[in-house]
């Protein structure tokens, strides 16, 4: 695809946008998995919140 003499500016713009969005999306997914693991670990050790009642696995992460 020929984007003319200003191709550098166009590709850099799209590159920065998609790189940052990919980083954010992967970070959110990673953070969700990490928190779900910690939550599960605490639950398995019998730790509960004061107000807790059983929550389904769908409610996590």
């Amino acid at each position: 695809m020929d984007l003319g003499p200003h191709a550098f500016y166009i590709w850099t713009s799209y590159g920065v946008v998609f790189a940052l969005l990919v980083v954010i999306i992967f970070w959110l997914i990673y953070d969700g998995h990490r928190l779900a693991r910690i939550y599960k670990d605490l639950e398995e050790r019998g730790v509960t919140r004061r107000s807790s009642k059983a929550s389904s696995p769908k409610d996590r992460g």
Binding site: H6, Y14, V17
Partner: protein
């Protein structure tokens, strides 16, 4: 009769987790599909602009980023109002989750604007009213994130951040009208009913929709993570309290 409003129903974090867990995969897939279609239109269907040439393609990511930069701040301001006035349990979760996303989109609006400015204006940056007000918005986002993280007490941090967010909302009309109030290099808003040709306007609208859907998917996920973080913190606090109480009890029984 069930008289609860949708807002009241969603005020329950467990219900929110269940509902958002069902919506999130569909929303993510929809955002990805619309984004793919938007990129196809942006690169293969839209013609070069008669004045700006191929660089007009930067507009398809610059305008949605700039739109989200201000929309996300408005969302934070509404959430902050919800926290301070109605004490909605999810309002602070929403505001906290949205701030880094808003900062990211503002950063992208600045970078893509700069990349568009160089070939069109001959410079990456100029201290023009629109550019400067968006830069202030970016610093405001950083201020919200920094202020929240500088307090150990989460309730206090939430309230102070909410107050700053509501004060900072004054920047939104300044950004919007900066191109009319001052002489700026930045072009005025063309709006949706403008003379921009449909071949360019449609890809722009599709990309704006894609970015908005993507933001809401990321925001839902970030809110879910934040709720989990708070639950874990509550569990850890409860465990420390129980350990403390049992050690006091054993110390008392042995003395």
């Amino acid at each position: 009769m069930n008289t609860q409003s949708i807002t009241q129903k969603l005020a329950n974090p467990t219900r929110f987790m269940s509902l958002s867990g069902a919506i999130l995969p569909w929303l993510s897939v929809l955002a990805a599909l619309v984004l793919t279609y938007g990129l196809y239109l942006s690169f293969f269907e839209s013609p070069p602009d008669y004045q700006q040439g191929e660089t007009v393609r930067i507009m398809f990511i610059h305008v949605p980023s700039a739109w989200l930069a201000t929309m996300v701040y408005a969302l934070i301001a509404i959430s902050s109002f919800g926290l301070l006035v109605f004490r909605h349990p999810l309002a602070d979760v929403s505001a906290k989750a949205a701030a880094p996303l808003g900062a990211a989109f503002t950063f992208l609006a600045l970078v893509t604007g700069s990349m568009w400015g160089k070939p069109m204006w001959g410079t990456y940056w100029v201290w023009d009213a629109r550019l400067t007000s968006v830069l202030i918005l970016f610093f405001l986002y950083l201020g919200l994130i920094a202020l929240r993280s500088s307090f150990e007490d989460e309730t206090l941090a939430a309230k102070l951040t909410a107050i700053l967010a509501l004060v900072g909302v004054a920047i939104l009309p300044v950004i919007k009208f900066s191109v009319e109030w001052w002489n700026t290099l930045h072009q005025p808003s063309t709006g949706l009913t403008s003379s921009v040709h449909l071949d360019i306007r449609i890809p722009l609208l599709v990309m704006a929709l894609a970015f908005t859907l993507m933001f809401f998917a990321m925001h839902l996920k970030a809110m879910r993570n934040e709720i989990m973080r708070r639950r874990i913190k509550a569990m850890q606090r409860a465990r420390v309290d129980r350990v403390g109480a049992s050690s006091v009890a054993s110390a008392e029984s042995s003395s």
